[in-house]
């Protein structure tokens, strides 16, 4: 089974949904028997050193290039693994989600088990503005009897 494969150079992280792809070339390859649509092995003549990513319209998928061992007579067996994240990016980005961690929408009042702190905490002492005063110490005398105010 022969079909066109569009090769790219992917410089984005594997877990990035919208990847930045640089087209390299389009070649024709043959699907090796017994391989799957998720992990196809495709025989291509010649090597593609600058490519690490591909699109196979026949399968409707984007793929990572996982290996390319030499077969014989300059025919290379390219091994791919499907990148569902980029292939289904529209559906993924439009899907309803609950996000647990984010670098855009977050709330710092939620706890995170990944937080770390040093062993020496910060100690802060703050004094109240007022209190008792030594200068106001007073004797209190309790006497039996009655009190007669001075006139």
């Amino acid at each position: 089974m022969s079909f066109n494969i569009v090769f790219y150079r992917n410089n984005s992280p594997l877990n990035k949904i919208n990847k930045s792809l640089t087209p390299v070339t389009t070649v024709t390859g043959t699907l090796k028997e017994g391989t799957s649509i998720v992990d196809p092995h495709i025989i291509i003549e010649g090597s593609l050193i600058n490519a690490n990513y591909a699109y196979i319209a026949e399968f409707g998928r984007y793929y990572y290039l996982t290996d390319a061992p030499v077969q014989y007579n300059n025919f290379w067996e390219y091994q791919f693994h499907s990148d569902g994240l980029y292939t289904a990016r529209e559906a993924i980005l439009n899907a309803p989600v609950i996000v647990s961690k984010s670098s855009s929408n977050y709330n710092l009042y939620l706890n995170d088990d990944r937080y770390k702190c040093y062993q020496d905490p910060i100690e802060v002492l703050k004094q109240f503005p007022s209190g008792f005063n030594h200068s106001e110490y007073s004797f209190v005398l309790a006497l039996q009897g009655i009190f007669t105010p001075s006139t």
Partner: protein, 564 residues
Amino acid sequence: MPMQPSLMFDLGPYMVIPIIDQANFPIVTYRNVGYNPDQLICIESAAYQTTLRYLNPVIKIDRPSVDSAGVWHNITGLLLKDNLGTYTDYNLVWQYHVNISQDDYILLDLRLVKVHNLNPLDVTVYISRSMGFGGAGGIASINLCITAIKTIYNGRTWIGVGFGSDNFNNLHAHTSIHYECISISGEFWTSKGYEPETDIEIDDPNEQDPDGPSAPGGGDGGFDRSSDSNPVPGYPAINGADAGFVRLYYTTSAILNLIASEVYSSNFFDWLAQVFMKPTDVICGIGIVPFIPSLGDRGHHKFGTYTFSTELTSIASPYKTVDCGKLLIEKYYGSAFDYSPYTSIQIFLPFLGMRELDIDEVMGKEIGVVYHCNAYDGSLIAYITTPINGVDSVIAQYTGNCMQQVPFGAGDFSGCVRAALSIATSVVGSIAAAGAAGASLAKAGAEAGKVASGAVKAAGESAPSITDSISNVMGLKPHVEKASVAAGSPGQLACMKPFILRRIPRQSLPSNYMQLNGYPSNIGGKLSDFSGYTEIQQIQLSGVNLTEPEIAEILDTLKGGVII
């Protein structure tokens, strides 16, 4: 022997029904999808009570196999095997050989007398080609496991004489046993001409629960988060001095010296001699309080017929308010770190010592300290307030004593010293409780740390370190006592102003933490509403034309963290 209508035998896969009650088991039927005409159907009973005396399997044979001639295979033997492997065979009630269509069925009710006390009993029913009596035996190929056997007629015993051929393994018919076939229907069966019995009643002890079975509920809270203000209370309308038997005076040391001179003067002594009293009988007590009481009129004290020449200042009210002011507890991080169990706060209160405050109650608020003191006996109460509905409201209160007793006689002096020593060496329950609170904080931190170790980790991330996670660092810090009892005389030597001590965690945060880890979110929406590093807790993904493993990989990647 009663004639029976056409019978059906259901064969099927294993169906294990737990024994609910030894006296009443549900009927089961089995439908064999790919039955073999020569299959031996072995019906085994699971272990049941040793007191079960009667084994009454009810077997329905649905769509019995037919041979090429359209002849169905009758049941020719019934084998009982106990757990010792002892075979006791019982022949069925009848040997029946009929041509039967696929729609026919057999209901077979075997009334058996249990012949062996040991359990379990295996009941093997043979189906073989109809040969009449003495036909060839079948070949056991499947085992049906019936663990529940219904007693159709509880307590009835059927004993009789049986007949028929064994058709298997050279076992012999026991002609001494008779079995009567009785038409039986069961709730699991659909039978032609037979009405299913009504629901089998099984005693379920859970039905006795007065709360009944589980049901949906919840969501009926009122979400009322309003608070009432709780201002510092006023003073009582009366006090000890109002009784009139004892008068309180504010004095200075100079005035007190004059009183002492007068008490020990010859005039006073001469007068005392007439009434057989001592000079110290006039004096009820002398104390030092850390505040100036509310002053009243000046005048002279009269004891009996003796009037003191020294002019004294009366105390108008023994109650005194000492307002220590307010302190704003500002958030340090503006995050979860500002609250327990990460940040802790203690307050020192003059004459009371250190107390633990609940940081969650005071964070971000202005806390006030107000003392109500009583010059009559030196008792005091300290109120901790925070604003609620715009009113400074009491959230905590602590009691103590601020008076230093001043001796004025020989016995009096030793008593004052003993009292001072007792205060200094006593253990304050609140300090111990504060220590326990520290231990509680440690426990909470340790528990939070355990939760941390079980968290889902993103790809490429190392496991949270148990030694430096914030929960463990702050939660396992020891609680150190910083101030013992500070009442009475020792209290007058201690700090005179309240202060707070706050312990704040020192966060270790890489500069690119947000970009690579993100912060906790728990926010919903569309994934496109977010940007940067994002970890999904839950997603509803649809309209994706990919294989199941691919979708599973996508979900794993989303939960491990993606970049949008």
